[in-house]
Structure formats: structure tokens, C-alpha cells
Subunit: 225 residues, 2 copies
């Protein structure tokens, strides 16, 4: 079994978890603050892990931020482990894409069982490399976009926007989400940048440009026609 990434600032808890899991034959790598966590979970850092255990209250960057950061690049299972038992927090955790939310204190045996179940459930599903929507095809590995089987060149930003829209076809994506997902949470430019890139993207897509619909006050949506 692959390793688990544990993000938790309480060293005692880390130790207990590490010991229990390694006795069962599962490796744990621990990180003890938000900044480190952001580093490890950035870009391809998660490829060697099969699950993330994530505390919420951490120095330097909270768990929610880290989870959002993880979800920008990865579909890896994430379990929050935290003392925060408020309904708001739990719901928020699920909204930003966690798989489970465990409230401290907890039983190690249950935590272990949950990890096992989740890893089994997430196993062996890797995303295809070609996204499709109506006349638009997007090869996310070769970084090529085709409209009606004719190759269309897209600059990086336009490509990333289209990729995000295609990964969420039919969903309405607001500008802030796009700014977060394409530009990054640390970007503070104006909304208008999105409009401009959408405009360029529509133009580049030619006849298929109309598949990107504007929903006033709410964002953009990619549809099949």
C-alpha cells in the first residue's frame, strides 16, 4: 500500500497515528505546519501518496486552504481530522471537496478502517486525458484543443479556463472560482481579466465559441451546443 500524508501540528497525535499505522504496515509521512503542507501538496507533490489526513487548525495556513490547494491539482482522498465539530465547518469541508470529516477525539482503529475503505474506493480510477464537450475536444496531456477535429491553438490561460469549464460542463462557474482555479488563490487581479480571456477563448473556438454561455450575475457555463 502507498503512503499516507498526515498534516497535523500536534506532534503527540502524529506519533500515535504513525505508530498505529506502521504497525499495520502503512507508511505515514507527517508535516506539521501549513506552509510546509502547501509546499508538499503543490503541483505533483502528491503523486506518491494515496490519501491525505488533514487537520484544520494549523500554523501558517489552515486546513481548508490546504484542501482547496490540493483539489486544484489532485483528486486524492482527503480526510479532515479536527476538533472543530460545528456544522458549518463540516459542511464547508465537504463543499471544498473532502471525502470524510472526523472529529477529535477518535478511535485509531476507526480512523484506520476509514482510510482503508476510502483508499479501496478511490483505487484504480485515473482520469482520461481527453475531455469532450459537443464539438470541442481537449487533450490535457498533449495540450491540444480541437474544434470539429480541427486543431486550434490556445494560449495557456485560455487553455486552463477551457479545461476547467470542460471538467465541469453544464455547471455554472463564477468568476471567483475561475480566478481561484486558473490564476490561483493568491491572485488579486480584477474580474475583468476573466471576461477578456473568455472573449478571446470564444473567438479562438470559432463556431463553438457559443458553447460558452454567460449567466449574468453568476458566471459562465459550458454546454454541448
Amino acid at each position: 500500500m502507498k503512503k499516507i500524508l498526515l498534516i497535523e501540528d500536534d506532534l503527540q497525535i502524529c506519533e500515535v497515528i504513525e505508530k498505529y499505522f506502521s504497525n499495520k504496515g502503512t507508511g505515514i509521512f507527517s508535516v506539521h505546519n501549513g506552509a510546509e503542507a502547501l509546499k508538499v501538496t503543490g503541483s505533483t507533490g502528491l503523486e506518491n501518496y494515496s490519501l491525505v489526513l488533514l487537520d484544520i487548525m494549523l500554523p501558517q495556513a489552515d486546513g481548508f486552504t490546504i484542501c482547496r490547494n490540493i483539489r486544484r491539482n489532485s483528486n486524492i482522498p482527503v480526510i479532515f481530522i479536527t476538533a472543530r465539530a460545528r456544522e458549518d465547518d463540516i459542511i464547508h469541508g465537504y463543499e471544498i471537496g473532502c471525502d470524510d470529516y472526523i472529529i477529535k477525539p477518535f478511535l485509531l482503529s476507526v480512523l484506520y478502517a476509514k482510510c482503508e475503505a476510502l483508499i479501496k474506493r478511490s483505487g484504480g480510477r485515473s482520469m482520461g486525458t481527453v475531455l469532450e464537450c459537443g464539438n470541442i475536444k481537449l487533450d490535457t496531456r498533449r495540450l491540444v484543443c480541437c474544434v470539429s477535429d480541427t486543431e486550434v491553438y490556445l494560449p495557456r490561460k485560455e487553455f486552463e479556463i477551457l479545461k476547467y469549464l470542460m471538467e465541469h460542463q453544464n455547471c455554472v462557474i463564477d468568476r471567483n472560482t475561475l480566478l481561484d482555479r486558473v490564476w490561483g488563490i493568491d491572485y488579486f487581479g480584477s474580474d475583468r481579466a476573466v471576461d477578456n480571456h473568455i472573449r478571446k477563448l470564444r473567438k479562438a473556438l470559432g463556431t463553438a465559441g457559443g458553447q460558452i454561455k454567460t449567466l449574468i450575475g453568476r458566471g459562465y457555463r459550458l454546454t454541448e451546443r
Copy 2:
């Protein structure tokens, strides 16, 4: 959209769950004893469901037995919902292949979030988000409204009003409630704004506009016809 199978002998709990989920656009089919449950979950009976919620203490056959039975034919996500909080039971649940184990009492919002997360994780298409009332359908993810399967565009306020009414069909909603829920508690405009948006909403809904009834002195109510 696929349904959720609920196996639970407490009719009150069934009703509460059914109501909450159907308000959110997800269908529930309930079964109230072990024998029936074994019948429904046998062989290909689960093809129409995307998740199973399963109580443990049931008449005629307990939840563990049912879960084992499910796992003989299917990989469908299974969540135990039970008052049995003993470590043994939890671990046993995971051993026989459940995906989550929720201890009563629980928050409906959390149960719903867990179901969503697990269905997403299991590769099933995400949960339904389509509210329905008579001829009106409202897709809260795509932000699209259909009347008799014809798409109708609704501006934001009209959409939010209709959404609130559909989440509370047959209930009388007074203007203040709408102002609070749709405009926000910090809004201090006049009641007349509600009337005007209701008017626009009725017009946009065309033939189905009449489903919004006025109760003088009390508010509005959305009915099935």
C-alpha cells in the same frame, strides 16, 4: 438521476430523510425490514441506485447480513446509519465492506454531504440537483429552469425566489421570509419589490405561472398545479 436506497425500520427517520433529500432533488426509495431489503438488494436489484443507507438493527435480517449480501454482487457505496456506537460494530462494518458508518443521532446536512461526496468518489454521476413541482423543473447546479421541458431563462432574483418556493412547496411563505432568504437580512427595501419579482416570475413561467398562489395577508405558496 439515480436514487438512494434507504433501509431503515423507523418510519419517522425515513420520512425525515426522504423529505430532506427530495427537497434537494435526490430521490429516496425506502425499505423497512430485513426480508424486503434482501429481496431488493439481491442480484441486479441495485442497478437503479447509486448508494445504500443501511440501518443495522432491523426486523428479520440485520444490516450486517444485508451488507454482506450486497457485497456479493455489487460495489455500490454503503453507509451504515445506526445507534450502535461500539468500536467492535464499527470495525465489523468496515470489515464487511461499508464505506462509512454514521452514528445516530446525526445532522441531515452532514448525511447529505457524505452521500454526495461518496457518490462523487465512487464515480457515479453526482447527485441530482433538480427540484420538481408540477410542470416546473429547477436545476440548481446548471441554474436552469424548465416548464414542461422547455427551457426558461430566469434572472437571479426570480431564480432564487422560485428555488426557495420549490424547496418549500405547498408552504405559505410570507414576504419577510422571502426578503430574509433571498435578499438577505440586511436588506431594507420595500415589500413591493417582492410583488414585482413574483410578477416577473409568473410571467416568465408562462402557463405554469399560476402555480404560484397569492394568499392575501399571508404571502405566496407554490403548488403542483
